[in-house]
């Protein structure tokens, strides 16, 4: 994974290894911006498999997540058959519910494309009903379509489920998965990630940014910066031509790392970036 510029710690590496070997979904929880979604992207690059992403939201239903019939084309087909005078109604019905009229949504696509990495992003935003049919798909990697039969995956896709934990996801779903709680990276790893991702970044700047980020996380803010914000911040500083983090540049680019006005004021007032 390091080849793909993703530096995982021991726990996450073990989790990914087991998910691949056991064919189990990986359930990642952690604060926003610790690299949950990024892991799925990396796995997809490492395995050279397409990433199929399903962003969850309230009211997400089977027609959006599993499959849908292409009604317009079905009707057209029906009219065309009428026009040429096809007689057998039964045969016509079979034709209409054919695979070519089926629109595969992310979950079905993940079973059909092989190999695939399926990312079910922010499942805590979906509702209970969605959890129920996701559980059904994840428990045996099949989808049954009444008109067509059961579609099964020859090889189960690699599944990554992420949650920001704004609500408790049902235990039955978690039980199917390997559970991993992602923490903010430690200082050394954060420096390594910055250097890896931003080749233009000097070691001095990376160390200063990582130290400042660590301090911001300790400061008990509304939204402590994740690794995604640290990367943005370092990039913003590089764009401003910084070679080291001085208070003026830090204040000017604060919007890249702190997204709440209260947090920015708190940090400036208490001089948290003064001696970084």
């Amino acid at each position: 994974m390091a080849e793909r510029d993703y530096l995982a710690d021991e726990g996450l590496a073990t989790a990914a290894f087991l998910a691949l070997k056991m064919g189990r979904p990986l359930f990642l929880e952690g604060e926003a911006g610790v690299g949950k979604t990024e892991l799925a992207k990396t796995l997809s690059a490492v395995l050279d498999a397409p990433l199929i992403r399903l962003q969850c939201y309230e009211g997400l239903d089977a027609a959006q997540a599993l499959y849908d019939w292409d009604f317009a084309r079905q009707l057209l087909h029906l009219k065309a058959a009428e026009a040429v005078g096809a007689g057998d109604v039964r045969a016509l019905e079979g034709e209409i519910y054919d695979r070519r009229f089926l629109i595969a949504r992310p979950l079905l696509r993940a079973l059909e494309v092989q190999p695939a990495v399926l990312l079910v992003d922010e499942i805590d935003r979906a509702d209970d009903e969605f959890e129920a049919f996701l559980l059904e798909v994840l428990s045996d990697f099949t989808i049954s379509i009444p008109e067509l039969g059961t579609i099964a995956a020859a090889a189960p896709p690699v599944v990554v489920v992420t949650s920001n934990r704004t609500r408790e996801v049902h235990d039955a779903l978690k039980r199917r998965c390997l559970y991993h709680w992602l923490e903010h990276p430690g200082f050394d790893r954060e420096v390594a990630i910055l250097l890896r991702r931003l080749p233009a970044c000097t070691e001095t700047l990376a160390a200063q940014v990582a130290r400042a980020a660590t301090r911001l996380r300790e400061a008990d803010l509304v939204k402590p910066p994740g690794i995604a914000e640290t990367l943005d911040w370092a990039e913003a500083l590089l764009t401003l031509g910084a070679t080291d983090l001085n208070p003026d540049l830090a204040a000017a680019s604060l919007g890249a790392v702190l997204k709440y006005r209260e947090d920015q004021q708190f940090v400036l007032k208490n001089g948290l970036l003064r001696d970084a």
């Binding site: 009211g59 019939w69 509702d127 704004t166 709680w181």
Partner: protein
Amino acid sequence: MPDPRLRLVSVLVGFARTLRAAGVGADHERTQSFLAALERLDPARERDVYWAGRLTLCASPDDLPRYDRCFAAYFTGARAGPRSPRLIVTVTRFTATPSGGRGEQDPDPNVLPATASAVEVLRNRDIARMTAAERDEVHRLLALLRASREMRRSRRLAPSHGGILDPRRTVREAIRRGGEPARLYYRDRRQKPRRVVMLADVSGSMAAYADALLRFAHALVRSEPRATEVFTVGTRLTRVTGELRHRDPAVAMDAASKAIPDWSGGTRLGEELRELLKLADARGAVVVIASDGWERGDPGLLAAQMARLARMAHRVVWVNPHKGDPGYQPLTAGMRAALPYVDELVAGHSLAAFEELADRLGGLRHA
């Protein structure tokens, strides 16, 4: 001579059992996954055993410190750390018969012979000034409380007589009838109960009401288990929703009192509220804060967090037990800081007050 593999399995299963005893939900299925995971790793390496167990046996960040403690105790022989002292809530089992329905031959001396008028008097009495037997009766009535819930329109669509055209069903029917859309089908947004997030202050100044508040919270969780979150606040914030899900009030209260580490401390409401906004999704929810507003921390911080909360929540209801006092003025620093952001300030000192609160949550009587 026992098979070494069998010995290993029994050691690992024993570990899962230890975790279960410590309150981690390491059930049979998870234990199986644990063994399966270790088959792909090296069971002789401590780190491999650690991660295989953590990935398969834990299910929430709350489990992790318990897991680490058990792992150290079980595999390295270290002793588990001292448990924080806690106050035990007195728990009495009740039979769920409506009050007044059992008459004179009631064999249980702990239950007051409840006549309609006696219940009426009890209903309006301040819980803090009750005898143990009276309080038991109130708890019994609280256990019977059915809290209705305000509804909101969900984003999920369901079949209905009007609303948005449902192309899926309409066309499916049309195809069945040879392509003629003879009947149009509709879908409309469904009604869902609005979420309630309750924050119950269990600090020292609220000690007399904490038990009743938790019982009220239990009634809320029981009536809408999937749309309620309950936290307690003292010196730290504790999520007790899971503990209160148990149907039997005695079991639920027992579990909750074990989970709360800081009964009867001081309150730092501002900080806890900020923590709450990280943990729970207050967006669109009815937020109930039950506290007397004795803030030990900075009232300015509390005001700032209340302002954030007011922007996110659908409604903020503050329950203050002292509001029941006719001469009550919101004078505590915390209460004064929070008041501008509170939609409703209600009493929470008696059974009648709790019943009224339950009605308000149903959106029945709110102004």
